[in-house]
């Protein structure tokens, strides 16, 4: 399925990460944005609303982030591709409805432009403190897909990818960004509409009266219909059977959670998207994601100059975590270096998948020194001594 041209601003532009995100959404066919203004995510809303008229998209500013995500879920069930954009405090308020989105298997995209936390923290400075929250923040057991681009260009492409994944697996997808990526202006190439591949909504084909909202296919993902098409379906946040009716027993709960978890876990290999750089001869591997990875590249160049065999893995999809890749690597490399803009979150995952094989160094960045590649270099050097 191709996008309709209206949304696609084909050409080369200088866009900030936030603007690129809005463009990506429009190109992906997103026509419903609900949000509550919170820095540093404003520019997405601005860009979207400026373009809203041309593509007759809808923007509504709700009274708080709770209702924001509720409205997005509603819009998605009404057949629109919907998304919201927020920052840490907003994401915390959305947690309950991320759970509902998972339970109702509603495709939608949540963009979280991270800022320093906890609580109000430092509103206008970058952070990577919400990485674990994005995965574990809502109550109950579920799996979710989290994407973390590292440039405006990638923000554009990955936003489209996020919509595709959310439609394919019928799950909310979180795009993590951060203040500096959001405000960074770079060249963004937007291809013509016919070059952009979109995942169509997995729409039910069979006869109307046979439709069961949660009767899943082999890939554990049930097909979907939209409100107002005359299927007269019922869906509930309670544990439900394939009719969508609440069923209060252990078996049904097992079935639900099992499927919600497995429909992602079974396809980790298809979902995982990582960027590997000269791993062939690497003895030291830097595992990074998002904005920090840009600093890593600088450090790697320098280290290679010094004749140290370093490589890097960049997580474009942070969740589900690429366990296998890290495990494989841990067997052949000397050490991992994990630079993060927080006090150690993905570090824990790397430790988990390392199986005690390689050394692990954590490089803790404060938002002030994010440009500075020396901490990584020093870590590399100290490991070669």
């Amino acid at each position: 399925m191709k996008t309709n041209d209206k949304g696609v601003l084909t050409g080369t532009h200088n866009l900030s990460g936030n603007q690129a995100c809005a463009e990506g959404a429009l190109a992906a066919g997103c026509r419903f944005l609900s949000a509550y203004p919170i820095p540093p995510s404003i520019e997405v809303i601005e860009r979207f609303t400026q373009r809203a008229k041309e593509v007759d998209a809808i923007f509504i500013q709700m009274e708080d982030e709770i209702s924001v995500l509720a409205a997005v879920l509603g819009a998605s069930w009404a057949g629109k591709k919907a998304m919201t954009v927020t920052s840490g405090p907003g994401l915390s308020l959305m947690m309950e409805h991320i759970g509902l989105g998972v339970m109702l298997e509603t495709p939608c995209v949540i963009v979280n432009v991270q800022r320093c936390g906890p609580s109000e923290g430092i509103p206008n400075s970058p952070s990577q403190g919400d990485v674990m929250q994005a995965r574990w923040g809502s109550h109950g057991d579920y799996e979710i897909i989290v994407i973390y681009p590292n440039s405006p260009q990638e923000m554009f492409t990955q936003t489209i990818e996020a919509f595709n994944l959310s439609e394919k697996y019928r799950t909310p997808v979180v795009i993590l960004s951060d203040e500096s990526l959001a405000r960074m202006v770079e060249k963004v190439v937007i291809p013509p509409a016919n070059k952009i591949i979109l995942e169509p909504r997995k729409h039910y084909k069979g006869p109307k009266n046979k439709y069961l909202p949660f009767k899943y296919d082999k890939d554990l993902v049930p097909p979907m219909v939209n409100a107002g098409e005359g299927y007269k379906f019922h869906i509930t946040g309670l544990t439900h059977d394939e009719k969508g009716y609440p069923v209060m027993n252990e078996e049904c709960q097992e079935l639900n959670v099992h499927r919600l978890v497995r429909k992602i876990r079974n396809y980790v290999d298809n979902i995982t998207n990582i960027e590997e750089k000269n791993l062939s001869d690497a003895e030291i591997v830097v595992v990074s994601y998002g904005i920090t990875s840009r600093t890593v590249d600088k450090a790697l160049k320098q280290a290679r100059k010094d004749g140290i065999n370093v490589g890097s893995i960049r997580l474009i999809t942070v969740w589900p975590f690429p366990d296998k890749e890290i495990m494989k690597l841990s067997k052949k490399v000397k050490a991992f270096i994990v630079p993060e803009l927080n006090f150690g979150q993905i570090l824990l995952e790397v430790q988990r998948c390392n199986y005690g094989n390689a050394k692990i160094r954590f490089v803790e960045y404060g938002h002030e020194e994010i440009q500075n590649s020396d901490p990584i270099l020093n870590a590399i050097r100290s490991l070669t001594k």
Binding site: A70, A71, V72, W77, G79, A227, H234, G237
Partner: protein, 271 residues
């Protein structure tokens, strides 16, 4: 007898019967009135969505054979807002309880009213949180006993029509569960009126409210409410507070015109 069809079957999910509501509960009657109103309104049933929150009334959506959504606690209205804005053809009806709409959902209630989003809100008010076992609600009348007000409630109750009116609803009515015909009529009017319309239904909670306060079974309470209700159309909403086991003023209090959200949004886009 098996293959005899009840006229309401078309609107109900008969495969889910029996429903969970206790005998003598007013929610069933509300459903009856709603279905009757639907028949009268002759709307395209494919285009009508019912959204409910959590609680006894929250189960309403589950028994109505339309596109029906059972959402999280208090968030029925924003969910419905999303449905309505994304697909303006839909007719969205929110049916939920007092705790769900006025307590945790209060913010969404007043804001949807302020925006005048085109939806019908049917609020079944049984003065208590019934699903969780009878806790005090913002609508519990003074001195009434509940499990979390074991010494009698001392918080003045909310006046739902007044909140609705002062935050901008275009249609506000209140009936008790036994005023079936008038209730049906009100829901019918609400369905046909563009904008944010509110219908409050005073319903007995036979399980908790009446048991704790010793008010007899559901039917006694329903009769009591019906007999002690006084129809005063256009009564100023200030006077609509409900005292414990006292007279209840019912009727149609507000019916006014305001541009709906979608209308003003379109107008703004056109500029």
């Amino acid at each position: 007898m098996k293959n005899v069809k009840h006229p309401m079957d078309f609107y109900l999910r008969m495969d889910r019967m029996p429903h969970i509501w206790c005998t003598g509960c007013g929610i069933g009657l509300t459903a009856t009135a709603f279905v009757a109103a639907m028949e009268k309104a002759k709307l395209d049933t494919n285009k009508v969505c019912v959204v409910s929150g959590i609680g006894c009334t929250g189960r309403f959506a589950g028994y109505i054979k339309l596109d029906s959504f059972h959402t999280t606690h208090g968030r029925a209205i924003p969910f419905a807002t999303g449905l309505k804005l994304a697909n303006p053809e839909l007719k969205v009806v929110v049916v939920s309880g007092d705790g769900d709409l006025i307590s945790i959902g209060g913010n969404h209630f007043i804001h949807a009213a302020r925006r005048n989003i085109d939806m019908v809100v049917i609020c079944v008010n049984n003065f208590i949180y019934a699903m969780t076992g009878g806790q005090v609600a913002p609508t519990t009348p003074l001195t009434a006993y509940t499990t979390t007000s074991p010494y009698g409630n001392f918080e003045p109750p909310s006046n739902i029509p007044q909140i609705a009116e002062s935050s901008g609803a275009v249609y506000v009515a209140r009936w008790t569960a036994l005023h079936i015909r008038r209730l049906t009529n009100s829901i019918f009017e609400a369905l046909n009126k563009p904008g944010f319309t509110v219908v409050e239904v005073i319903s007995p909670c036979a399980q908790y409210y009446s048991r704790i306060n010793r008010l007899g079974d559901g039917l006694d309470m329903m009769k009591f409410y019906h007999e002690n209700s006084q129809i005063k159309h256009w009564e100023p909403t200030d006077n609509l507070y409900i005292d414990y086991q006292k007279e209840i003023i019912v009727g149609k209090f507000v019916d006014r015109e305001r541009p709906t959200y979608s209308e003003s949004y379109k107008k703004w886009l056109a500029e």
